[in-house]
Amino acid sequence: MATLTALVQKVDSPAEISSTADRLHQAVVEEEVSPDQVIGVFEAWARSLDDRELDDLPGIPFLRMWLRRGTLEPIIGRELGCNALHGGWTEYGRARCKAFPVGIVGHWPAGNVEIQPILSMTCALLGGNAALVRVPHGQVDLTQQLMEKLVESDAGELLTRRIFMAAFDHDRHDLQEAMARAVDGAMIWGGEDAVLQIRALPFPHWARLAVFGPRISAAAMDAGAWTDPDESPSWCRRIARDVWQFDQQACSSPQVLFLERRNGDSIADFLKVLQRAFESENEAHPRRTISAALTSVICHARASWLLNDPAHQAVFPMEPDWTLLVGCGSDLPQPVQGRTLTVLEVDNLLDALSKFDGNVQTLGLGIADREKERKLASLAGNRGVDRIVKLGQMHVFAPPWDGVDLIRPMVRMVRHVCSTG
């Protein structure tokens, strides 16, 4: 019964996981599915998500866009080869190659991005795999809602029979171990502690692990961009959007904005525009809940920023809704999250970027000077940044992500050289 396996289920014993894994394994070996077939179901799923009542759920517009054929087909072609879409072989001289699934892919999503269990799962399904997903406690309800829509869209159970969404407490080590033993590949997302713990689980020796560990992201603008009165409102709206999405908890969320100084130009006007953009974004997407811990962190960040240096400025409402911490300097500040953006004036953006290291995942840019942008991109890449995008697109989920492909790591490229050739 598809509906029994595809919806989120509470799991309480290792035996449940191993028997489920047997079923998933059967599903993979019994029937090959091509990326084209998978995308067909995804498109129907995306249409079912085009529902006003779902619009307020976090990440839904983004998920709809990700599931489109127009988004996924080019990714399949680039990662798996030009004939891979229909499950065909691609000729390479006397040899031919084809992507086969690794088998069952286990997914350990992070607790910070609501739709991550779904996104991670889609990557494995596109490679023809089955997906065994551990759904973090806080994401069960949303995942359940989304999976109900998938079940409706997949009448033939092409995908739903290949999916098992398991809900169990993260400190159930026996269940984590059972899950690790059952999979042929794993996509692991999260903070340092989580990633280290999961990587240490007893995976089979052949299992392929794709690890998307902890990162932060930054934004930068040159003076040509932030001083342009016609363009700055649009840039600020883009920055606000990047901060708001995923509540600034994703690795692609900007925590700091570097503004390159230009003699005679004050950032005061730009800050007013940025403040208005934050106010508008907050009006459009107000928080519905917040943990007391995050409120506490936000209040502390505001106070310590202003107390530590009388030259520091800050703009924030009485509520913990958003915060701009303003100062000078080229060092990356400690991330605060909670829609708290540190805005730092710097003499030269190259100074700030030269201090980046592998911790920075995404650099969002608003640069008027094209030549400068090329230099900045080269320097950022050299200093460990994996994604360099326009402001407003910092979260666009497109491979390579963290410098690696999203589908290819969970397929085997099988090479066939014809014996009679």
């Binding site: 910070n112 902890p214 932060i216 690795c251 202003l306 240096d309 009388p310 009485m318 500040p333 290291d357």
Partner: protein, 378 residues
């Protein structure tokens, strides 16, 4: 002392002379608001960083019409070393240090002579309302060296000393053994209990110390001290007892059993080193109240607005007593439920509330929880 200091010194003194829980809430709010504004004005000029914070607060403190609108400081800010001070080093008489059980760094607050004096008066004023003004024999469930060294006093020491004005003689009934662990000094305890079956007594200990080093050993030995006149106060929080799965009712019953007194003679009070002179004992209804020289605001984490009665939020403690450090308006890391904004059945006016544990440890979530490890490289 400046004219400004003299003015609010006088105002604070007059509040300290009032009965602590009889003011109608609106009157109390307006009295406190005016003094707090003056204290902010004073602090603003004495600490550049604090001045910057006050200046950039979204509401101008001088035109604020509610205490809740004034710029509050998260209490963790007081974990600074050196401590934040509004007075010169020559005026610092004592430094209080928190126990720092849930974090690595202790809070430190500096006291000048006026603040230290007000602290004592504040505690006396509050406790008199609960245990009466009489001096009595005082059993300290701690070691005699609770005062620590030099001018630095820990949270336990501060609480023990705060009760001295109610004592005419003191006995400490714990000692350190050869391994520097606390243990019960049976001889001292027996001596203290001798011939006091019909006497009013005062007993104080940190909650977990009372349980681990007095209640547990005496229960194990089947000893009852037969002190029905004991008035037992304890503070320090429940975290360690929760770890041992000890409920408050069980604690009270067992504690009363070893003293041979009624459980209603036991009073749990909440106090923070950072909120000098303002403590919150449980009333007969099990609620806590703010005294006339202090206030409690319970803030909704989503809006930071004061919550409605019945709701939970983050506790802010307000006090007019400290002038040597910026401890007037402190957002704590504790949660509480507001029971009512007035009309507690115990007769005390103003807000009644109950603590509901700590704000969970604040940590960055998910993939953004990276530490900046290498960004200091030049």
């Amino acid at each position: 002392m400046t004219a400004m200091q003299q003015q609010f010194e006088h105002q604070i003194e007059s509040l300290l002379d009032l009965p602590p829980y009889t003011q109608p809430p609106e009157e109390k709010q307006s009295l406190l608001l005016e003094i707090l504004k003056e204290e902010l004005d004073y602090a603003y000029k004495r600490h550049a960083g604090y001045g910057n914070y006050i200046q950039q607060w979204p509401v101008d403190y001088q035109s604020a019409i509610h205490i809740a609108d004034l710029p509050f400081l998260p209490v963790r800010i007081l974990k600074a070393d050196p401590p934040m001070s509004l007075v010169g080093p020559d005026q610092v008489k004592k430094t209080l240090r928190s126990s720092a059980t849930t974090s690595q760094l202790p809070s430190q607050v500096v006291l000048d002579a006026p603040t230290a004096r007000r602290m004592t008066k504040g505690v006396v004023n509050i406790l008199r309302d609960f245990i009466g003004p009489a001096r009595r024999a005082y059993l300290i469930v701690d070691t005699p060296d609770f005062r620590g060294a030099g001018s630095v006093l820990g949270a336990r020491g501060a609480a023990i000393q705060g009760l001295q004005p109610f004592a005419n003689e003191t006995t400490c009934c714990l000692r350190l053994n050869g391994e520097s662990d606390l243990e019960l000094d049976h001889e001292k305890l027996r001596e203290f209990a001798k011939d006091r079956a019909n006497t009013e007594l005062l007993v104080y200990g940190f909650t977990f110390i009372l349980w681990n080093y007095l209640v547990q050993p005496l229960l194990a030995e089947g000893i009852c001290l037969n002190l029905p006149g004991a008035r037992i106060l304890h503070s320090g929080g429940w975290k360690r007892l929760q770890e041992q799965a000890v409920e408050k009712t069980v604690f009270n019953e067992q504690l009363a059993r070893v003293f041979g007194c009624s459980p209603d003679r036991i009073t749990d009070f909440y106090g923070m080193v950072e909120s000098v002179g303002v403590i919150f004992p449980d009333c007969s209804e099990g609620n806590k109240h703010g005294p006339v020289f202090g206030e409690v605001i319970v803030r909704d984490p989503l809006t930071l607005e004061p919550v409605a009665a019945g709701e939970y939020g983050i506790v802010q403690v307000c006090s007019v007593l400290p002038t040597s450090f910026p401890g007037h308006l402190l957002l704590t890391e504790d949660m509480a439920q507001v029971i009512a904004y007035d009309g507690c059945a115990c007769g005390r006016r103003g807000i009644s509330f109950r603590f509901a544990g700590r704000v969970p440890k604040a940590e960055l979530r998910g993939c953004g929880n990276v530490q900046i490890k290498r960004s200091k490289v030049n």
